[in-house]
Symmetry: C2
Subunit: 142 residues, 2 copies
DNA sequence: ACTCCATAATTGACGTATCAATTGAATGAT
DNA sequence: ATCATTCAATTGATACGTCAATTATGGAGT
């Protein structure tokens, strides 16, 4: 009835399960989805960015980027404008309102992550983050 | 321009990024989505299960379970039947066809996971899997 | 028997990600 | 100067997951 899985086999299941749990909880706790948060966070530090750089930074599909930004624009969090020197690219920046609101989100996110990782030592965190990076590398060209 | 994130802060981003990479690649490599694989895999060992137990086992929303199973049934991989003693529950089992096909999927999955974790020692795997479990626990009641 | 509650499965509405195809604007080669 | 390529952004189709509400059934308690 119960079935044995090697550690290797389980990792995938655990990863997926964890993520499925995280996404809705993150949003409930912080008031914003984690992808949106990443976008705003990046803009917060980078002041003005074009979409394709933003895409590379947060590492989600550019179609999704477009849709997120449109929504964030509609919510008054960011502005978007074409640049005259190259009419293909659109520059994105936080509005004042956006800059103000992200501060609250940052706190909520910190609290969330803190809860999730509350019993992890600095060393463990760095081990974990390395492992995740290695996995990412290992499947990069599949 | 570049912004400093603590290891703690990055974990979330890494996790999500990794998962977003995994899902489409898993499906491309194996020919089936990882959720469907989990369902079939569980059925492979359990012979006959009702949906709510299946739901607990694979840990995704029961709405999603219903939809997956309908599709798998349409594809001739599983059969579903109400049980007379309690007309609420539906029992699911693999068809012969399904049982045959999952064997191929198992191999593809093993190859995929092998690639993803090829440079991980047994010990690392067990550390990683423990960490993932801990995180899951830490956010359980959020 | 009848009302009340719990449970299993389903459906609907929604958010988010992917990929493939398209649009529109620069750029490079002949 | 023009044609082909390349690139940024967008759109459409599709898949998967959540939550909330619904349907249908079963089981108590009175």
């Amino acid at each position: 009835m119960t079935c044995l899985l090697t550690d290797q086999e389980q990792i995938l299941h655990l990863l997926k399960g964890l993520n499925n749990q995280i996404s809705p909880k993150f949003e409930r706790c912080t008031g914003i989805s984690s992808s949106r948060y990443e976008l705003l966070h990046h803009l917060y530090h980078a002041d003005e960015v074009n979409q394709s750089n933003l895409q590379k930074a947060v590492n989600i599909d550019s179609a999704a980027i477009t849709r997120h930004l449109k929504q964030l624009e509609a919510d008054g969090m960011v502005t978007r404008s074409k640049i005259p020197s190259d009419n293909r690219v659109t520059l994105v920046r936080l509005t004042e309102e956006g800059r103000k609101r992200i501060i609250g989100y940052k706190e909520e996110k910190a609290a969330f992550v803190n809860q999730m990782l509350n019993d992890f030592s600095e060393e463990e965190l760095s081990i974990l983050s390395n492992m995740l990076r290695r996995m990412q590398t290992n499947i990069r060209e599949l």
